[in-house]
Symmetry: C2
Subunit: 433 residues, 2 copies
């Protein structure tokens, strides 16, 4: 029985996890696929570095093309990260008729379509389950389990760092800066946390999810992004008072033939299933016309969960190879991309403003909304501690178009009675039973 | 492009849902599979009945063998339910080289292994995603997404009726009988609710899950079952006081080469993700050595969710047909079945007893535990309203073997100071962070 041979690009924590799983589960994997897996070549930065996994020194190399062009290698597993260079490696690998498994969300979000096209051209598989929500087999669920349904909405907590930070802010009533430092100390946030806290990482994953869920070529640029660095502990405590939990939520929604995709700090009712996804955990909520509400929950990152997803992809590729059906793994997008305009995106909005505490303030504000046909679900007015001249007003609107809401904000800003617009957040999941 | 032709056994709510999905999503399905689907023959009880779906009268029949033996039919979809007769139909269908998709958990739990063997022998596919937790693609996740992991534990809320009843009992503080009646009125419980409330339905699903998750021929008889009909509202309110939520939980657990599978009313910490699965919803929590904790949540029943799962299976079968790789869908069990004995099953236990309120009662009770090396995590003693002679004692033990716990219960029963053992429940998920 001929073994299937793997070339591994990268032997960091995920790469080592992949090696460990392949070594520890050799029996189970062979049983499932019907032939053994051999790790043939491994790209490393430094051959002499001491490692947790046992690998013969002979198979380590610092030259990426010794892996990609090794005629014995059947499948390339890419866990080195990076974008432009790595894209070239994978294109070269595919052209050399190697199947590819990648955990690289940055790369797939930017160049997924191009890489998939190249894979198809060369009759090769390209799998990337680990690129979204590491330990959650969500891409598989969208491609197969919900294959016969029409998915109309996906909401995801797809970034562990920001969920960890918001969970702590919510629990300890601590300010953002402080919690970010703690997250960095604990290894849940990187030294430069920008990609996470500004929502870019989540946006990449939402682009990938939207592409598969809606069968449409959604690009990273199509995703509107707002991060959590401006979220204040007051915002969290006021929203809590109204029964909401703040989460960084990626939303992909389809109405008719048009879609919207965004990432932003969002308020969810406390009893919404996504509201109880804590710490570094991820979850993706999927609404399908027939199936209704489903949710997939699990670790979003971490070397072993990510490695598990990578090896599951490897198993799929190996099955395809043995069945001689590679190169057909993902179907081409079925629909032409059509993004909604701001007049077509409707949502409830949470708005916190400081107004001058004088007769008529309130009615001037509310008439700004009613002139544009926007009504309220909740209103809360409170005095501001240590400031008798101002009052705190919190409004949760009924559904309003993004265009109307922006217009309203501008008009409020121009009102003399408005001292400051402190914050606005999208509100989701109110229909949840 | 040759169409793939479906024979449908049953045109009740699920069957009609299947027809509706196939008709409404013809485009998407054809796009995914590369050929059209045709509904060729449909078994019904009464040809003249008025129906929600539009089907030519010519393709309806009351003779099951006109469907099974139709030479044009490629795939049989079975949504009629029933066990012995239906088994024979499916065996005959498989022998006539028809692929089979079934939503029949009773049948699969009892005869799954035999049917799979027959499918394999005839080079046919047999899929049954809809048999466990309707709208949740959990079998797929176990077979593929977590393929490279070693699953050590599954806990499932896999019966909507009992979850609906326990949710209501918990929320409204209403007694079991009353809530059951409400559930029957709302259509969440059947006129004869036995299979649901006594845990048999959940046991069937756990047998199927354990078989796939542990790759072992677990039979329905291997599943220990206790239903919810004995759960009192006092049990729920006392467990709530200690921070627990009562759920009917199916547990499948593996240690080394041995497994245990059971269904029983179980106490979970309130913050455990399964504790917030409400009403008729289902969820399956899966622990894998590498991936850690994941959870899959969704509708457990309902005609459209079940129909979605059925059509997803149909899509898998059709893909396999087009790729000419049918008959290899599920792998044979990898391990010999080894069930744990009561001395090998360890769990925390909740125990509620009424004791005579006299000097020394408490120490007699606690020494019964300590003699068998079982210690306590929580103890609560309370007076009993309107009865000065007795006291209520609630104990949550640390992990104890089932054998030891049964022994302790017998000894407690023999103690003169023990008036009555009111209830015992397994406690799970305390390690949950």
């Amino acid at each position: 029985m001929k073994a299937i041979r793997v070339g591994l690009l990268g032997l960091g924590t995920v790469g080592s996890g992949v090696v460990k799983i392949i070594q520890d589960h050799q029996d189970k994997l062979t049983h499932q696929v019907g032939c053994p897996i051999v790790i043939q070549k491994v790209l490393v930065k430094n051959i002499d570095k001491k490692r947790d996994v046992e690998l013969s020194r002979d198979i380590l190399t610092t030259n990426v093309y010794e892996v990609i062009e090794d005629p014995e290698v059947d499948v390339i597993i890419e866990v080195i990260g990076g974008i432009e260079e790595t894209k070239q490696y994978l294109l070269d690998a595919l052209r050399a008729k190697k199947h590819v498994v990648s955990a690289n969300k940055d790369l797939i979000a930017l160049y997924g379509s191009e890489l998939l096209a190249c894979a198809k051209e060369n009759g090769c598989d390209l799998y990337f389950e680990a690129s979204v929500a590491g330990g959650i087999p969500i891409l598989r669920a969208l491609e197969e389990g919900l294959a016969s349904d029409r998915i109309t909405k996906m909401m995801g907590i797809v970034n562990g760092t920001t969920n960890f930070i918001l969970t702590k802010m919510n629990k300890d009533k601590a300010p953002y800066r402080e919690v970010l430092k703690e997250a960095q100390r604990l290894g849940f946030a990187e030294a430069d946390p920008t990609a996470d806290v500004e929502g870019l990482d989540a946006a990449r994953k939402m682009a990938i999810l939207a592409r598969l869920g809606f069968s449409m070529n959604v690009a990273l640029d199509d995703v509107k992004v707002k991060g959590i660095s401006q979220v204040s502990d007051e915002d969290i405590s006021f929203s809590k008072r109204l029964g909401y939990t703040m989460k960084l939520i990626g939303i992909a929604q389809r109405e008719g033939q048009k879609v919207e995709v965004s990432v932003q700090p969002t308020l969810l009712p406390d009893h919404h299933p996504l509201a109880s996804v804590h710490n570094e955990y991820n979850a993706v909520y999927v609404y399908g016309e027939a199936v209704g509400e489903t949710m997939f929950y699990g670790p979003g990152a971490g070397s072993m969960p990510t490695a598990t997803a990578v090896v599951s992809d490897l198993v799929s590729v190996m099955k395809n190879m043995r069945l001689e059906v590679t190169g057909r793994s993902f179907v081409d997008p079925q629909f032409e991309k059509k993004m909604k305009s701001p007049t077509e995106i409707f949502a409830q909005q949470f708005l916190r403003i400081h107004v001058k505490d004088q007769v008529g303030s309130f009615s001037k504000i509310t008439s700004t909304f009613s002139e544009r046909g926007v009504s309220f679900e909740k209103i809360l007015q409170l005095p501001i501690k240590d400031n008798e001249d101002l009052a705190e007003i919190i409004i949760v609107t009924h559904h309003a178009s993004e265009a109307d809401f922006i217009e309203i904000l501008q008009q409020l800003n121009d009102l003399e009675v408005v001292h400051e617009i402190k914050s606005t957040y999208r509100v989701e999941g109110n229909g949840w039973s």
